[in-house]
Amino acid sequence: MKKFLNEPAAFVDEMVEGILAAHPEQLAAVAGALRCLVRANAPRANKVGIATGGGSGHLPLFLGYVGEGMLDGCAVGGVFQSPSADQMLQVTRTIDSGAGVLYIFGNYGGDIMNFDMAAEMAQMDDIQVEQVIAGEDVASAPKEQHEKRRGVAGIFYLYKVAGALADEGASLEEVKQIAIKAGENVRTMGVALTPCIIPEVGKPGFEIGAGEMEIGMGIHGERGIRRGPLLKADQIVDEMLPVILNDLPYESGDEVSVLINGLGATPKEELYVLNRRVSQILGERGITVFNTYVGEYATSMEMAGASVSLLRLDDELKRLLAKPASTPFFTQLQLEGANP
């Protein structure tokens, strides 16, 4: 296990300590609770609070998007484990300004139950809470069962547009609706080349043979669509992208934002090789690209692999996507080419 580690059991807390040491102007722990993180200036008066949460091991997910123009708080779980409802409740209490709190999180059983529970508890405190569940991995369930789909890198888009709208002073219901809309217009598919190691376990939980890949694997190693010999980069895109395109479907004349996400160990060089083919295919299909994000947005520790997400834009989504944001893990200036 080639990892920078002290005691495996201390991994998540030490990571958070390192994060707080690096970004003290941007992040704070709720009453010293390392696993309940909020914006340094929370709550923001009259603004709908947005909270997320999930297991650790996916940086920048989830806590990395807490900051200006995006989220207000995050409950931090153990590696690949849901945080507790109690953590979520603490975050909720801290970020609520009276305008209510929206939970945006991925479609995983533990997270759903805990956020549900937290919402129940927050309502006992008279805090208005709404929930939006992100689930856009087309490999994880067929379209007819889309409510079973896992949430992966595309959740970034939900955070981005909901955060931008909340900053404009929109109501809880409005912020919820824009997150839902982003969720309805985003699709993702991924491919894994190697497994990853949970520090407390110390060895990979599964193997992917030398020269093999698994198309559609989830970010915790959930089974994908098929395992087979590692294909060339273009062949992989040629297999994955049509599945995404046909699912929504994305059609000629559509405008999309592209997110090429690295799962951890894959170098950025290779992500751009993938993007080359993605942009070729979109061009051939008459789909225009408004903004391309390439890098690590949702990882699985040191897993090698990548995912491709598309967000179909309308004027409203585009306007919100283009707005500036600044978090410890994601900074964007106002993008040109969208109506402000």
């Binding site: 507790s84 409802a85 953590q87 529970m117």
Partner: protein, 212 residues
């Protein structure tokens, strides 16, 4: 056999259940290792220890409210799937006790039914999916029938325990639909479900605390 459900009886029950979780720690770890992430024995031991301690230290005299408090503590200390589901069960069970007027048998029946209903709702599941529900739901049903027939609490808990055990055995033949176990698909068939075993242990603890 108890005749009134007091706060003290809630404490006793939590102690019995905690002891059973301790005693079955390794067995639960093994079961969760086979079909999950292998932490079930740990989280159950920890969660019930926390619930027990919270109840023991509390000055709350109303049994329903005490159970809610213990449930919230369980949620805090055992934030795994089953920890949250059990916390939900305890909170909903506690609410159901509030204002319950009937016999102690009826009270426990109402508690168990609300407990299971909470899990079903929060877990977005139904019987037959190879979960804790597959032992607890038959137990709650048996308890309800006993109450309707006017039998004793001891009788009810005996029947509930038998039903839970049968349900746990039946769950072995099911295919897992939730959580990590679902990744195993057909391979999950034939293996016991750790959560269903936890369900049996909970009813066993109640039977010891309130039925003997």
């Amino acid at each position: 056999m108890i005749t009134i459900l007091t706060a003290q009886e809630v404490k006793t029950a939590l102690t019995e259940i905690r002891q059973l979780m301790d005693a079955n720690r390794d067995r639960l770890l093994d079961l969760d290792n086979d079909l999950g992430d292998g932490d079930l024995g740990l989280t159950m031991a920890k969660g019930f220890a926390a619930a027990e301690a919270e109840a023991a230290e509390s000055e709350e005299t109303e049994p329903g409210r005490l159970l809610i408090k213990a449930g919230m503590q369980m949620a805090k200390e055992a934030p795994s799937t089953l920890g949250t589901l059990l916390a939900t069960g305890m909170m909903r069970g506690g609410k159901a006790l509030d204002g319950q007027q009937g016999s102690v048998t009826e009270q426990v029946a109402a508690l168990l039914q609300a407990f299971v209903a909470g899990i079903l709702e929060r877990g977005k599941t139904k019987p037959g999916n190879k979960t804790i529900v597959d032992s607890l739901h038959p137990a709650a049903l048996a308890m309800k029938q006993t109450a309707e027939q006017g039998e004793t609490l001891a009788e009810g808990l005996k029947k509930a325990l038998a039903a839970a055990r049968e349900g746990e055995i039946a769950a072995r033949a099911m295919q897992a639909q939730h959580g990590r176990a679902a990744y195993y698909q057909e391979q999950s068939i034939g293996k016991p479900d750790g959560g269903a075993v936890v369900g049996v242990l909970i009813v066993e603890g109640l039977a010891k605390a309130w039925g003997e």
